[in-house]
Symmetry: C2
Subunit: 274 residues, 2 copies
């Protein structure tokens, strides 16, 4: 069993220092609860609703900067793995990223590929596949937010034998019903179930410059079953979702069925057409 | 708005004639309620839990046989479109199919591609893409049951500009929690939402030779929102789900976002690897 913590945080673009303080406090609280994998939202260091590239530049951090150094220190202190979203300045190019950090420091970083709304005005999209890293608890993948809606994209870590997907997100609330389950969480459940992969999504809570966040954080097991989900009566405060989840060792879903070998990729050619 | 009826039927392999009677009665009731599109379960003419190929042969019908003739007559009588699952004998080869029938008769038939459990013992898998047919209410696609779990497969009608997917299914109940939403219905919601496509799935109800059916019928709109879902307090009787659903005219999901053009197919190559 793997204990996962998903930290749903009230980040704010106006208070980047406070964002980092909130993240550190959440990581410490998650570790104190025994979490081995801690997932933080998208763009934890900056907030999301930028008005200018200048605001991105002011808030972005570097791979050798203080945020990754601090998270590496916390990962070492507690023996945990941290996955979180960061605005990264890499040689004066700005990326919306997810980083994987463990006791040995930064294990890798992923640049968001599918962009939502105004992101093209502020970031350069990635063109590398979802990051997949071997950890002591299994093969771990990450991508960011809107990437998950592209089912082909989720297939890549599945095909690379990842068994856990950590998803930093900032899901703006779009007006759909949140009962019985918010649609963002539904898509996470389906991704987990159809890929036989644990999926842990850390969303935001609260409001920023007129944007309401969905507060749709969720931990779904490899059957897609909800193991922890945001409490929708607490829509302005920090929530740390905790779940003990079995990490799958294969893609079998029945005596004669396996999601990997039941695929018929020779028939999927048109998926590459635009 | 399109009025859809999904007919969740207590089919039984022991009583093929009764299955067809149930289907006709459900079609008549759906049409009387104003349905324009009526969806029936997988293998409506035969039931599912075969013990021998002989049982398949006894129950399968032909493309020019009485079942399709009867459904064509009903489609003409009421001016409706019917999508249903049938065991088909085509030149002594047996297929698990979905047929699309309207006032002009049989518009097309689709052979299930992804096989569940013992189906390879009884049927030959198809290798044609999901069937896509233009109707008076929009471009309609069909596939069968387990096909839906292969997200690449659902992308094919999406890429072919289908806006409605009718899914005959026989989902055996596998023991997962059915609250807040059965996992089979969750996957339908996600398929609808991620492809901006109305999805109407007709499941079975009751038990057959020791197999419990999931009773997870659902009509999800193009946002993935549940517009009608099986009443889980009625798990042995016919249920006809009815919903008025808006048929989408594009894949736009925000001022700057479109699920079709936001794809980056040049990066999806590995999806074709087995």
């Amino acid at each position: 069993m793997l204990k996962i913590a998903v930290c749903q945080l009230p980040l704010n673009i106006e208070t980047p220092d406070e964002n980092l303080r909130l993240a550190e406090s959440a990581i410490r609280q998650a570790a104190a609860s025994g979490a081995e994998l801690v997932v933080l939202p998208e763009l934890t260091n900056s907030g999301y609703v930028f008005r200018s590239l200048e605001e991105v530049k002011e808030r972005a951090t570097t791979l050798d900067g203080p945020v990754i150094a601090k998270w590496s220190e916390l990962a070492r202190e507690f023996g945990i793995t941290i996955v979180g979203g960061l605005a990264i300045n890499h040689d004066e190019t700005f990326f919306n990223t997810s980083v994987i950090i463990d006791e040995s420091g930064l294990r890798g970083w992923y640049k968001k590929v599918h962009f939502w709304n105004d992101e093209p005005d502020f970031f350069i999209p990635g063109s590398d596949e979802p990051l997949v890293i071997d950890t002591k608890f299994g093969r771990l993948a990450t991508m960011v937010c809107y990437d998950l809606e592209f089912t082909e994209w989720v297939r890549l870590p599945f095909l690379a034998d990842a068994v856990i997907l950590a998803l930093p997100t900032n899901w703006p609330y779009g007006g759909l019903p949140t009962e019985p389950t918010p649609m963002e969480s539904v898509r996470v459940q389906a991704a987990a179930s159809q890929n036989r992969m644990v999926v842990a999504a850390a969303d935001r809570v609260g409001q920023e410059r007129g944007v309401d966040w969905s507060s749709a954080s969720i931990i779904a097991d490899a059957d897609g079953v909800i193991r922890a989900i945001s409490d929708r009566t607490k829509l302005s405060e920090v929530q740390i979702l905790l779940a003990d989840v079995e990490v799958p060792t294969d893609r079998k879903i029945g005596p004669r069925n396996d999601l990997r070998t039941d695929r018929r990729p020779e028939l999927y050619g048109k998926v590459l057409n635009s």
